[in-house]
């Protein structure tokens, strides 16, 4: 029997040591104590809440003694589950250290038409289509709208949410730009979940928010943090600094600032309701110094987001990362390589939820063709992250002996027994010999991805919501529309 045996169940990946995580967190605590953050405008409600937490409030500048941050870290849960829309377990996401899953992103203003590929404005119906396609893809675990609709500002995220929840069982991550919008979305989500109590037991969506960089917060988004905490809506505090623009040009400096920023929202959330579900989030990248954009394809994005995953784990907080996006204007070679690069690194980093698959043009354009292509990559990534099992059975020395020198394994029982589970099978990537590939139509990956998308668009039906629920949503929307029209 083998003793003193250390096993890697999966590949192992670290960017920062625990000591480095500790250094960064200590520096972040110091920033919060010395510099603090600032509210963009006055708010008695938020100032009072923060004073209550023990923070030092001087006008709009808030500083946090480290015990205040520590208190918040102590009550914040490290583990939570987000369920399918009606509390279903089948599509639930288990959020616990080093458990990964992948999903889409939101906020793009333009959309590649799923059928024609035309670059156009994003419409309300697209949210339904995106949800339906995401519902069909095996490697997409949570859904975001891939866009943003040009409608009344008080309805924009509401329509997207209503369309998505009607077209997928999988958990949804949504923007909710104002307090009013969260309230309407929450009405819809709780209606589908079966009531407020049911929702608290089995939350079916998450709200995506963001502190502003560097180190400031507008009042309305901050009130949204409080609302989510009080209603136990899992809230993602996703900071999006650009190195050299809104955060230090050195990567460690950006990590320190980002940690400080998400901790300010954590304190607010935990003070409002200790134990409220809260995720650290990051779209950390460089400012491209030619174009001024936050680069989604930059290697630094993957490096920073992975390091941030380790810092979150060090602090005992769940983490929402970024991958599967590109700065390319097309679903082309650049898109393929940038998306693959980031999806692999994010998976290795052990981030709990990895978002933004499907983003082209640095988050300006959403593309379902790209999502379909990247879904294939996620499958490959997951297969590699399974690692290699080394057991007497898997080492197969008896088989090696049986087959013998010069033999072949194709007809051996062992091959039959194992190849289906041991190997990864592409659905999109092509391995045919040239003649066969030519005979099949000489198709590129892009073309095959489009065909797969067409099949999904034509054939996939998401399970529909019960009629009373659909009616309830309809009523909620009508009320929201009336209210919006009045303003």
């Amino acid at each position: 029997m083998r003793v003193n045996y250390q096993v890697n169940a999966t590949p192992q990946f670290r960017i920062l040591s625990d000591d480095q995580c500790q250094e960064i967190c200590s520096a972040a605590f110091q920033v919060l104590e010395d510099t603090g953050f600032e509210l963009y405008s006055d708010s008695k409600e938020i100032s009072n809440l923060l004073s209550e937490s023990g923070a030092l409030v001087e006008g709009r500048r808030i500083r946090f003694p480290s015990f205040v941050v520590q208190k918040a870290l102590d009550t914040a849960p490290e583990v939570l589950t987000v369920y399918g829309r009606q509390g279903n377990r089948a599509t639930s996401i288990e959020i616990r250290p080093n458990h990964i899953c992948y999903g889409l992103g939101s906020g793009c203003v333009q959309f590649l038409d799923p059928r024609t590929g035309e670059r156009r404005e994003y419409h309300r119906e697209d949210a339904a289509t995106v949800a339906r396609v995401a519902d069909a893809l095996p490697n997409i675990d949570f859904v975001q709208s891939l866009g943003t609709i040009h409608v009344h500002p008080n309805l924009v995220d509401v329509y997207e949410f209503a369309e998505m929840i009607a077209n997928t069982d999988k958990p949804i991550v949504t923007y909710a730009r104002t307090l009013g919008i969260v309230q309407v979305i929450h009405q819809i989500a709780t209606a589908v979940a079966g009531g407020e109590k049911e929702f608290v037991k089995r939350p079916n969506y998450l709200v995506l928010g963001s502190p502003a960089s560097p180190l400031f917060a507008e009042v309305e988004p901050t009130k949204r943090v409080v609302y989510c905490a009080r209603h136990r809506i899992p809230y993602i505090s996703c900071t999006a600094p650009t190195c050299g623009g809104t955060s230090p040009a050195t990567l460690a400096g950006t990590l320190v600032q980002s940690t400080a920023e998400v901790l300010t929202e954590l304190v607010i959330a935990q003070t409002a309701n200790p134990g409220a579900p809260f995720l650290v989030g990051g779209v950390l990248s460089v400012m491209d110094m030619r174009s001024g954009i936050l680069s989604y394809g930059a290697p630094e994005l993957s490096l920073l987001c992975a390091a941030f995953a380790e810092i979150s784990r060090y602090l005992g907080l769940p983490y929402y990362s970024t991958a599967g996006a590109t700065d390319s204007k097309l679903v082309d070679e650049q898109a393929a390589l940038e998306g693959t690069f980031s999806l692999l690194l994010a998976g290795l980093s052990g981030a709990n939820m990895i978002h933004d698959t499907g983003f082209l043009e640095s988050a300006i354009v959403g593309s379902l063709q790209y999502v379909v292509m990247m879904d294939e990559v996620i499958g490959m990534v997951k297969h590699v992250l399974r690692g290699i099992q080394v057991t007497p059975g898997s080492m197969a020395t008896d088989v090696i002996s049986r087959v013998g020198p010069g033999g072949q394994y194709l007809t051996d029982d062992h091959t039959m027994e194992h190849f289906r589970t041991e190997f990864w099978f592409p659905t999109l990537l092509d391995r045919k010999p040239w003649e066969a590939w030519k005979g099949a139509g000489e198709k590129s990956l892009g073309k095959r991805a489009q065909e797969k998308l067409n099949h999904i668009l034509n054939d996939h039906r998401a399970p529909s919501l019960p009629e009373p629920t659909r009616e309830r949503i309809h009523t909620i929307l009508a009320e929201a529309e009336t209210k919006a029209a009045k303003r």
């Binding site: 040009h150 500002p153 174009s291 001024g292 300006i364």
Partner: protein, 212 residues
């Protein structure tokens, strides 16, 4: 061209703040007019920076440093323009639209416009339509530039254009818009005079507006 002006251009291009102050004083002592110094010492340097930037050979921090150098010289020359009644290339008011706090892009545009010889008044961020209108009334600019990074605040650009219309000021200015979610289609829809996808293009467009 006189040697001192060439050296000033170089100071701008290389981002040498210390050198430019001395060179400005020296140029004035040599009897060169503030306008000459501006056009052939400073703007010529920034023009080169603009070209290098567009071609991807110079980066944003370097452009901003060059702009800083130019401002250091303008601090000395500015009061002298007023004395001699010299006009700058044009007058621009810029700001980020109401409800939006993003300003890096706007700042870059402002700096590059100054670099091209425009007089720029930056109203900052979260600028309401009536604030734009009041600034136009007060400063009588040639151009109003509005920036937005959020789709939810873009409507504010339309509000500002309408407010200018209502105040009877719309015909006196050219309105340019920009920002990540903004498109030329949107600019047309809201009645703007132009859309620029980046700072160098914004400067070129501004130059066209004032020379028309």
């Amino acid at each position: 061209m006189s040697n001192i002006l060439v050296r000033m251009s170089e100071a701008v291009i290389e981002g040498d703040v210390d050198a430019v102050v001395g060179l400005t004083e020296q140029a004035l002592n040599e009897g060169l007019s503030p306008k000459d110094i501006l056009d052939n010492g400073l703007v010529s340097g920034m023009d080169h920076v603009g070209i290098e930037f567009k071609e991807g050979n110079m980066f944003i921090p370097e452009v901003l440093l060059s702009a800083k150098v130019m401002h250091a010289s303008l601090d000395i020359l500015g009061p002298l323009f007023a004395e001699t009644g010299t006009r700058m290339v044009g007058k621009v008011i810029i700001g980020t639209t109401q409800g939006d706090l993003h300003d890096i892009g706007k700042n870059l545009v402002g700096m590059m416009m100054r670099g091209a010889g425009f007089e720029v008044f930056d109203l900052g961020t979260d600028v309401a339509a009536d604030v734009f209108v009041e600034a136009v009334r007060e400063k009588t600019p040639d151009i109003v530039g509005i920036s937005a990074l959020l789709t939810t605040t873009m409507a504010g650009m339309h509000d500002t254009i309408e407010a200018l219309q209502e105040a009877g000021l719309r015909d006196q200015v050219k309105v340019m818009v920009g920002g990540a979610p903004v498109t030329s289609g949107f600019a047309q829809k809201i009645g703007a005079d132009g859309y620029a996808p980046d700072a160098p293009t914004a400067v070129d467009m501004a130059k066209e507006f004032v020379s028309a």
